[in-house]
Each structure stands twice: as C-alpha cells, then as structure tokens.
C-alpha cells in the first residue's frame, strides 16, 4: 500500500514537472512575442510645412497615432503655408490693406502667440518679415543682395502693430498693402505642440518626431532618456548630443539650411527684422524647451542675438540654449551642463 502511494506520487510529480516546464516555455515565448510587438515601431516620412517630416512611433496603437499626426500636420499646413494660395495666411496676405479675412481658430492662436513672442524677443522674432524674405529672394530662389534704400523701404512694411487680430469674430487684417505674414519661424514648433497633445491623448508608448530639424521626443516613461544630436554647421555629423527626457522640444536655426553666397559672404534666410539683413553672428543656435512654438521662435531669436545675449535671454526664460559661432566655438546655458556632450572632432 505504502509503495503504491509513493509510486503514484512520483508519477504525478514527474508529469507535473514536464507540464509545468512546457507551460513556462509557452508563457515565456508569448511574453517575448508580446514584448517585441509592443516595442515595434513605425516610421513615416512626409513632406509638409515646406520641409521634410520624420515620424517614428512605437506601441500597439502606433498606426492610429501616425495617422492622426499626419492628418493634423496636413490640416495645419493647409492653414499656414504661404505657398498655398488657399491657406489662411495667403488669404490674409492677399487682402493686405484691403479687408479683414475670416480664419480658423488655430490661425488666430498662432498669430496671437506670434505677437506675444515679438514682444518677448524685443522684435527679433517678427512674423511680418514676409516682404523682407521676398526682397532677398528667399521665397523664389532668385537670391540677390538688395541696396540699403530698398531694405529701408521694405522695413516700413514690417510693423507688427499693423497685424490686427479680432479674436471674437475670428478675423485678421493687415493694415498696409504689401505687408505679408511669414510663419516660417513658428509653424513647425506650433505643430509639434499639437503632435505632443495627440501623443498624450493616445497614451503613446514612445515617439520621436523630427519636423525639418525641430525635434520632439516622447515616452510614456517619464524617466526614459533620448539622445538628440545637434548638426555640425560646417561638417558632416553632429557637433553635440543632448540627453533629454520626454516632452522636450529641441529646435535649431542654422545658416546652412537656406543661403546663398555673393562675393565670398554668406547670406542666410534668417533675417534680423530690425536691421533688414541676414544675421551673421552665429552658424547655429539651438533652443531646448518644453513648449514647441517657444523653442522654434527662440532658436531664431538666439541665432539673431548672438552668443552672449542668447545666454542671458535663455536664463531669463528658463530655457536651454546652445550656440555655435563662426569659429565653431560652442557655448551653452548652465542648465544643460549635465545634459550636453560636445563631440570630439578627431
């Protein structure tokens, strides 16, 4: 009796062990597959906002998220793109000095933020630079160096106070004929804010969005870090790396993106609205912020201001700044000390 009891016990134990092993293997395989699937990412590249946009999203719901992001980008592009004659901005520009135009709430929003940023940057960021951009040929590619008289004449058309926004009736009016809005320095950052909202709403697992050099990194894990490089302004590769967390926006303005050279001098597309001439203190300026439109605007302002003023300005606004001058000297705000790594050029 005792022997058979022992025999039965042993049999059961052995079989249970095998079953347990197989079950464990199945569960492990399933977990690995699930882990792989949920970390799989989708990348998408689209052309919009007059630039190239790279979208990378991970997680089970990534397709839906990419779809929503693409739709929002195209939607905002339809409002802000001044090359599209039907956009809100084009309609406003075409009716300058004539009549006010009814626009979408997003257009009102971005223009109000633009006015606010004009004040904050002491005029270094100005969405009324359209006529100046045209004068230098940056709209058509017919680059030219205008005369001082021509510049002074056109500067009269860049008065921010001529931008009249009626928030109640959702209308915008440019007072003088010839005035033109250009949202090139804020549209991408503004759109990234919307993208950030979409990522949060959908509980995205992880995402890296690069909109023509304006970067947003996102992770459901607030402690996860991303390595974002800053392009070297004069050579291939990167000049520095920023180790940042979810919800960080990194925007860079450089003199290598759109420029022409005449008589050995480089004229880039970032024009100082106060002087009417392209800024030339720096080769690259980066703003590190937690708001998209702010970063986009500040990277332009930093670029125009130059290194010293940028650092003071960045400190006042509690944002990060990195500047590279004509001799490739790099300066950055103290809050980036633990975050930035300067690449060694061997």
């Amino acid at each position: 009796m005792t022997e058979s009891v022992i025999f039965v016990e042993r049999t059961l134990t052995s079989r249970n062990k095998k079953v347990l092993l197989v079950l464990t293997l199945i569960i492990v395989v399933f977990l690995l597959w699930f882990f792989y699937r949920s970390n799989a990412s989708t990348t998408s590249q689209i052309y919009s906002m007059n630039t190239i946009i790279d979208i990378e999203v991970s997680g089970m719901n990534r397709q839906e998220i990419v779809s929503q992001i693409t739709e929002e980008i195209n939607n905002l592009n339809g409002l802000f793109d001044d090359f599209n004659p039907k956009s809100d901005i084009s309609l406003i520009n075409n009716k300058a000095g004539i009549i006010s135009v009814k626009v979408s709430p997003d257009t009102i929003d971005i223009l109000e933020k633009s006015k606010e940023m004009y004040t904050k940057t002491y005029g270094k960021f100005n969405v009324m630079v359209g006529p100046l951009m045209e004068l230098w040929g940056f709209k058509t590619g017919d680059y030219r160096v205008p005369s001082k008289e021509q510049i002074d004449e056109v500067l009269k058309l860049t008065d921010i106070n001529d931008l009249i926004i009626d928030k109640t009736n959702l209308t915008v009016f440019l007072k003088k004929k010839g005035e033109r809005l250009d949202l090139g320095g804020i549209a991408k950052g503004y759109t990234l804010d919307k993208v950030y909202a979409i990522l949060k709403e959908n509980n995205a697992k992880k995402a890296v969005i690069n909109m023509g050099g304006n970067v947003l990194v996102y992770s459901e894990n607030s402690k996860e870090t991303f390595n974002v490089g800053i392009k070297h302004p004069r050579a291939d590769g990167i000049i520095a790396v920023l180790k940042v967390k979810s919800g960080t926006f990194i925007a860079t303005s450089g003199d290598y993106e759109r420029y022409f050279e005449e008589n050995g001098k480089r004229y880039c597309h970032i024009i100082d609205p106060l002087t009417g001439y392209p800024a030339d203190f720096l080769t690259s300026a980066t703003a590190v912020t937690n708001e998209g439109y702010l970063g986009d605007v500040l990277s332009t302002a930093f670029f125009i201001l130059g290194e010293e003023k940028s650092l003071v300005f960045a400190k006042d606004l509690a944002v990060g700044s990195v500047t590279v001058d004509g001799n490739l000297n790099i300066h950055y705000s103290t809050d980036l000390s633990g975050v930035i790594t300067i690449e060694n050029r061997g």
Binding site: L21, V228, K231, T252
Partner: protein, 129 residues
Amino acid sequence: MGLLQLRTGDKIILIIVIVSLVCGISLRILFANGSSKIVLIMVDGKLFEEIPLSVNTGHNEDILVESKEGYLSVEISNGKVRVTDSTCKDKLCIKEGEISKVGDTIICLPNRISISIIGENSNIDTVSY
C-alpha cells in the same frame, strides 16, 4: 527506473534549447558589429533604395534618383555619399557636400528626395538641424 531516464532526456533537451538560444543570440550580436551603415534614399516619403555603405573598397556607384518633381544624381564612393547633380534651383543638396556618418542626411526639398545614412549601432535617436 523508466522515470529517471525520461528526466535525463528532458534535461538534455533543455540543455540543447538553451545552448542553441545562446549561440543564436551571440552570433547575432557578433555579426551586428562592424560597419553596417546603409544609405537610405527616400523619394516622396517612400523608400527608393537601400545601399550598404562599405568603407574600404574603391567601389564607385552613381545613382540617378527620380521623383515627380525632378531628379538628382547621387555618388557613393569610399564610404562617402554626395549629390553631384540636381534639377533643383538652389542646389543646396549639392552644397551640402559629402556625408558619411550615421544620422547624416542630405535633403533636396524641391525634389522631395532625402538621402540619409542609417546604421544599427548609432545611439543617436535623431538630429536637430
């Protein structure tokens, strides 16, 4: 007696599975190292071609990349990539010069063509420019 033999057999199977897993993973890691750079050419947002970028050969390659908007010529030689000719107006893609590092990109916006260097071993998530 019969039970003990089965157990040993189980153990053997288990050991074989673990050893092959370890071998498989090690091989993957070993082969992933080295210069596994790839030139990624995208046209209108879609993949056009992927070309491995080998560093040492005197191997020259010229590729004509066409999009709906125009075309450009890409030269790949000695591990470096550059645009030699383009129908775009501002020729910024040509002015960009040569690229060779993972994460580098040449973009021809008017032609909607992007040429980037990707690789497995880069720890850079993206580049702000």
